[in-house]
Amino acid sequence: MKFIFQILVIALLAYLFELVFPWWSIALAAAIGGYWLRSGKSFLAGFLAISILWAFIAWRIDANNPTHLTDQVATLFHINKSSLTGLTALIGGLTGGFAAMTGAYLRKKKRRHY
C-alpha cells in the first residue's frame, strides 16, 4: 500500500514540478518521495512513477495529434514509435528510480546520526 502511495505521490509531484521547472525536476520529485515515503522498494517506485507518467502523457499527446510526428522522430532515431515511447519511459524511469533511491538512502543515513 505504501509502495502504491509512494508511486502516486512521486508522479503527482513530478507532474506539478514540471509545470514550472525543467525536466530534471522529476528527480527532485522522486527524491522527495523516496525520502518521506521510503517503501523499501524506492527505486522501483521512482522508476514506475515517472515512466508511467511520461508514457501516459506521451501517449495522450500522440493520440490527439493528426500528423505522423512521433513516427517521424522515431525514424530519426532508427526505431519505431512504440520503441520511442518505451525509450521515453525508460529515460524518465531511470532518472526517477535513481533519484528516489538517493532520497531513501539519505533518510537512512540521517537516522544513524540521531
Partner: protein
C-alpha cells in the same frame, strides 16, 4: 556510502541526459530534455483542433491589433497604424516560422558551423567560408546603410524586429520549434540587419549567375569562334519579354569606348558553384480584351527550391492606407508577391549578368597593394572569425579591393596561387529593395507601381502588373551596368579602371511596356528585348521554351477564364521534346534494336509530348536527354579548370546544324563519334537506366511522376520530415517541377471590381512538422488545384469560416 554512490549516479545520469553528444558525426539531442513529454519534442505534436490564443499582451503597441486566421491558418492582420502592423507581422511570422527564419540567416551569413559543427570533411565550414569570401555580410551591411537613411524603411524593420523578439523572449524550452531541440541550440535575437541578410540570400539565389571565369578558359582553350558558336548571347529560342522593335525612343548612355582587356591566362580554380540553369519562374497578365470577365488576370509562379517549411508565408496586411494579401518571405516585412484592392503584381528573375571578375596585380607576395591605373592601392584585409561548435574558432582573412572581395586565393579553392581575381557583384552596392514592396503593397495604379520599382536595384526582376482599372504592364527592374559588346562575358584585367562599370542604364531606359497591342505581357526568364534595344545584354543563360509555350497559348486564347489560367500554370507540354524528339528518333534504326529498345522506340514514337504523371514517353525522353548532355560536353569536365556546359537549346541546335562538330566525339572511346553516334549510344544507356529503374522499383512500367519522383525536402534535409509526390512537368516546361525545385507559389488574380484570387504552395503555413498545417496545401498543389484567397476588408468578413481570432493589446 550507498547514499553517495546513488547520489553520484543520479547526478551523472541527469548530466548525461541534459546535454547533447556527438557520436560518429551525428548529434544526439539531450535525451532527457528531448524525450520529456511535458517539455521535449512531444510538445511539437499539436492537437487536431488548433488552439488559437484569444489575446496576447504585447508591450509597445500604439493601438489594438486583430488577427483573423482563415481555414488555411493564413493570418489577416488588422492594425490601426503601420507601426503596429509590422510589429504584428514580425510576431506572427516568428510564431509559425522562427527556426526557418534563423537558419536561412545563419546559412547566408556563413555561420552554420556555429550550430552544426564543421561537418564531414569540413563541408559546412567550407560552406561558411565561401559565404564570407563572397562578401554576403559585406552586401547586407551595405544594404542596411541605405535602409538606415530612409526613415520609413528603418522604422518598419525595427517594428518587425521588435515583434520577432517579443515572440522569441516569450519562449521557454517547451515552446521551441522542434529543430532547435533536435540540434540543441537556442534562437538569438532578431535585428534589422537580419532582414537585410535575407534579401541578400534571395540575391544570391537569383542573381549570382555568371560564367566569366569559365568563358575566359573556353576562350583560351578553344578560341573565339567556339565561344560564339557554343555560347551565343541571344538564342533564337526566345520570344523576348518586350518586343518593341524600333520603339525605343530614348538616347542611350554612351561610355568610354576604350576596348576592355582580358587576362591572358587559363584560370585555375575548382569548379565554381553556378546556379542551376533550369531554375526559373513564370508570370503573365492578360488584358480585359482577352478575358471572359473583361477584367485583367495576372498570374505568377516563381520556381525555387521547394522545401519545408515552405519558402513563402501567406499573410494579409490591413491598416489605414494599406490592404494587401499575398506571400511574404519569412524574415522580412511586407507582401512580396500579391495584390491589393487596386493592383496585382508578380515577379520572375531577370537572369542578367551582374557579376564581373577582375584580375588583380599585386605588389609582391605580401599582397599589401594592388595596381590600378599605374598607382598602388591598399588591399584591405577583413578577418572573419567563424565559430565552430565544439571546436576552436576558425579565422579566415579575406582581401578586399575597390572592385570587391577576392574569394579564391591560395588559402581557398584556387588551384594556382599566381593570380587572384576580385569579385564585383551588383548586390554588394547600397540599395533598399524593401521600400519597393512597402510601396507596391500600397500602390493604387500604374504610376504608383512605377514609382515603387524605382527603389529596386537587385536581384533584378521582371515585374508583371495588372490593375482593376484595366492596365497591364511589365518592367524589367534592376541596376544594370552599361556594357560594351562582350563586356561581362569574360574575366577582365583589374589594373585598369576603364574595365569597370562606368555607368548604369537609367531606370527609365530599362526594358518595359504598358498595355501592348497583343493584349498580354509575360516573362519566363527569357532574353528581355528585341534586337533594337540599344544596350548589350548577356547572362549565364536565358530560358528558351516556357516563354514560347506561354506566348503561343496566350496569343491564341480569347474569353480567358480563371480555370484556363490554372490549366496554363499546370501545363505539362514539353516544347523541347516536340522540337527535338523527331530529330533524335531519325537517328535510330528500328530494325537494329533489341526488345526493350524497340519498346522504348515505339513508346516515344506515339508520345504526345506531355510530361504528365502517367506519361511513359516522358521517361524515355528525359532519360535519353540526361545521358546525352554529359556525353556531348565531356570536354567541359576538366577538374581544376572551370568550364561551362552550353544551354539545352543551343545543344539541340548544334546536333541539328553541326552534327560533325568535334565536341560530339566522346573522349572515352578511341573512335571518332558524331552526333549520330552519341544519340544512339545515349539512347541505349537510357533504355538500360529505365530497365534498371523498373527492376529496382519493382514496377512493370515506368511512368513519369514516379520516375521523376518530386521530392519536397526538409530545409535541414531531415528525411522523415520530407515528402515525395507524384507530379508532372519538368524544367523547360511551364509546370517547371523538377525533382527538388518547381513552382513554389502559384497565384492567379482576376482584377474584377471584387477581386477574385486563388493560390497554393507546396507546403503549409506552419513550420512545425507536428502541425497539420505543415504540409496541408501540398495535396492540392500536386493535383494542380488551388485555394480561394480570402481578401478581407474588415475582421468580421470571415465570420463562420475562420479558425479563430486573436487580439494584441498593450496592458
Amino acid at each position: 556510502m550507498k547514499f553517495i554512490l546513488s547520489f553520484v549516479i543520479t547526478i551523472s545520469l541527469i548530466y548525461a541526459l541534459n546535454r547533447s553528444w556527438v557520436i560518429e558525426g551525428n548529434r544526439i539531442p539531450p535525451l532527457g530534455k528531448f524525450l520529456d513529454p511535458t517539455q521535449g519534442f512531444w510538445q511539437s505534436a499539436e492537437s487536431s483542433d488548433v488552439k488559437i490564443d484569444d489575446a496576447i499582451q504585447l508591450p509597445g503597441l500604439k493601438g489594438k491589433v486583430t488577427i483573423v486566421y482563415d481555414s488555411l491558418l493564413i493570418p489577416h492582420i488588422f492594425a490601426e497604424n503601420d507601426d503596429d502592423l509590422y510589429l504584428a507581422q514580425g510576431y506572427i511570422t516568428a510564431m509559425h516560422r522562427l527556426w526557418q527564419m534563423e537558419i536561412q540567416i545563419l546559412s547566408t551569413s556563413g555561420r552554420l558551423s556555429s550550430i552544426l559543427g564543421p561537418g564531414k570533411d569540413s563541408v559546412l565550414l567550407n560552406r561558411d567560408r565561401n559565404q564570407r569570401r563572397l562578401g554576403l555580410m559585406f552586401a547586407a551591411k551595405n544594404a542596411l546603410k541605405s535602409i538606415e537613411q530612409d526613415s520609413v524603411t528603418i522604422k518598419m524593420l525595427r517594428q518587425y524586429t521588435k515583434g520577432v523578439n517579443h515572440y522569441i523572449h516569450s519562449l521557454q524550452y517547451k515552446h521551441l520549434p522542434l529543430e532547435y531541440k533536435l540540434m540543441d541550440y537556442e534562437p538569438e535575437d532578431w535585428s534589422p540587419l537580419k532582414c537585410a541578410i535575407l534579401i541578400k540570400s534571395m540575391a544570391q539565389t537569383l542573381n549570382m549567375g555568371d560564367k566569366d571565369i569559365q568563358m575566359t578558359n573556353v576562350l583560351h582553350l578553344f578560341g573565339a569562334d567556339i565561344v560564339e558558336l557554343l555560347y551565343p548571347d541571344n538564342e533564337p529560342g526566345a520570344d523576348p519579354i518586350v518586343d518593341n522593335a524600333g520603339g525605343w525612343s530614348f538616347s542611350p548612355v554612351k561610355i568610354d569606348s576604350t576596348p576592355f582587356a582580358l587576362p591572358n591566362e587559363i584560370i585555375k580554380v575548382a569548379q565554381l558553384n553556378t546556379p542551376d540553369p533550369t531554375i526559373g519562374s513564370n508570370n503573365w497578365a492578360v488584358s480585359g480584351t482577352k478575358t471572359a470577365s473583361q477584367a485583367p488576370i495576372l498570374c505568377n509562379d516563381p520556381h525555387l527550391d521547394i522545401y519545408l517549411p515552405s519558402i513563402w508565408y501567406a499573410v494579409q496586411l490591413h491598416a489605414p492606407g494599406i490592404n494587401t494579401i499575398g506571400v511574404s518571405l519569412p524574415g522580412a516585412p511586407n507582401v512580396v508577391i500579391g495584390f491589393n484592392d487596386s493592383i496585382a503584381w508578380g515577379i520572375t528573375n531577370a537572369q542578367r549578368d551582374l557579376i564581373d571578375w577582375y584580375k588583380i596585380t599585386f605588389n609582391d607576395e605580401s599582397k599589401s597593394q594592388y595596381l590600378l591605373d599605374s598607382t598602388w592601392q591598399v588591399v584591405k584585409r577583413e578577418i572573419e572569425k567563424i565559430e565552430v561548435r565544439d571546436h576552436e574558432p576558425f579565422y579566415d582573412t579575406v582581401l578586399y579591393t575597390h572592385w570587391g572581395p577576392i574569394p579564391y586565393d591560395e588559402h581557398y579553392n584556387a588551384r594556382s596561387n599566381k593570380s587572384n581575381y576580385a569579385f564585383r557583384w551588383v548586390s554588394h552596392d547600397e540599395s533598399n529593395e524593401i521600400l519597393t514592396f512597402y510601396k507596391l503593397n500600397r500602390a493604387r495604379n500604374h504610376e504608383d507601381y512605377m514609382k515603387a520599382l524605382n527603389h529596386f536595384n537587385a536581384p533584378a526582376q521582371n515585374f508583371a502588373f495588372a490593375s482593376v482599372s484595366g492596365d497591364i504592364a511589365i518592367r524589367i527592374q534592376g541596376k544594370f551596368p552599361v556594357r560594351r559588346k562582350y563586356e561581362g562575358k569574360f574575366a577582365l584585367d583589374g589594373s585598369r579602371s576603364t574595365n569597370g562599370w562606368q555607368a548604369f542604364i537609367p531606370f527609365e531606359q530599362n526594358v518595359m511596356i504598358k498595355n501592348p497591342e497583343r493584349g498580354f505581357i509575360s516573362s519566363a526568364n527569357q532574353y528581355p528585348a528585341d534586337p533594337t534595344y540599344p544596350y548589350y545584354i548577356t547572362a549565364t543563360n536565358f530560358e528558351c521554351y516556357r516563354n514560347r509555350r506561354i506566348n503561343d497559348v496566350l496569343r491564341n486564347a480569347s474569353e480567358i477564364t480563371i480555370q484556363d489560367m490554372m490549366n496554363l500554370q499546370n501545363d505539362n507540354f514539353n516544347l523541347k521534346a516536340y522540337e527535338s524528339l523527331p530529330l533524335f528518333l531519325s537517328h535510330l534504326d528500328s530494325t537494329r534494336l533489341d526488345t526493350s529498345q524497340l519498346n522504348a522506340f515505339n513508346i516515344l514514337k506515339s508520345w504526345d509530348y506531355f510530361n504528365n504523371v502517367d506519361s511513359k514517353g516522358a521517361v524515355y525522353y528525359e532519360a535519353w536527354w540526361d545521358n546525352l548532355m554529359p556525353m556531348i560536353w565531356d570536354e567541359m569536365d576538366r577538374g581544376d579548370t572551370a568550364l561551362y556546359i552550353p544551354t539545352t537549346f543551343n545543344t539541340i541546335k548544334l546536333i541539328r546544324e553541326h552534327p560533325e562538330l568535334s565536341f560530339f566525339d566522346f573522349k572515352k572511346t578511341p573512335e571518332k563519334e558524331t552526333a549520330h553516334d552519341l544519340l544512339k549510344l545515349a539512347f541505349e544507356l537510357a533504355v538500360e537506366d529505365v530497365e534498371k529503374w523498373k527492376e529496382d522499383q519493382k514496377q512493370p512500367t515506368a511512368e513519369w511522376g514516379n520516375y521523376k519522383d518530386t521530392y519536397i525536402h526538409h530545409l535541414a534535409n531531415l528525411e522523415p520530415f520530407s515528402y515525395h509526390v507524384l507530379h508532372g512537368g519538368n524544367h523547360d516546361i511551364i509546370n517547371a517541377s523538377g525533382r527538388i525545385h518547381g513552382p513554389s507559389w502559384r497565384m492567379i488574380v482576376s482584377l474584377e471590381r471584387n477581386i477574385k484570387a486563388f493560390g497554393v504552395y507546396p507546403g503549409g503555413q506552419s513550420g512545425n512538422p507536428g502541425s497539420k498545417y505543415y504540409n496541408n496545401m501540398l495535396d492540392r498543389w500536386t493535383h494542380g488545384q488551388y485555394y480561394p484567397l480570402e481578401f478581407l476588408h474588415k475582421p468580421d468578413d470571415l465570420a463562420g469560416k475562420m479558425l479563430g481570432v486573436c487580439t494584441f493589446n498593450t496592458q
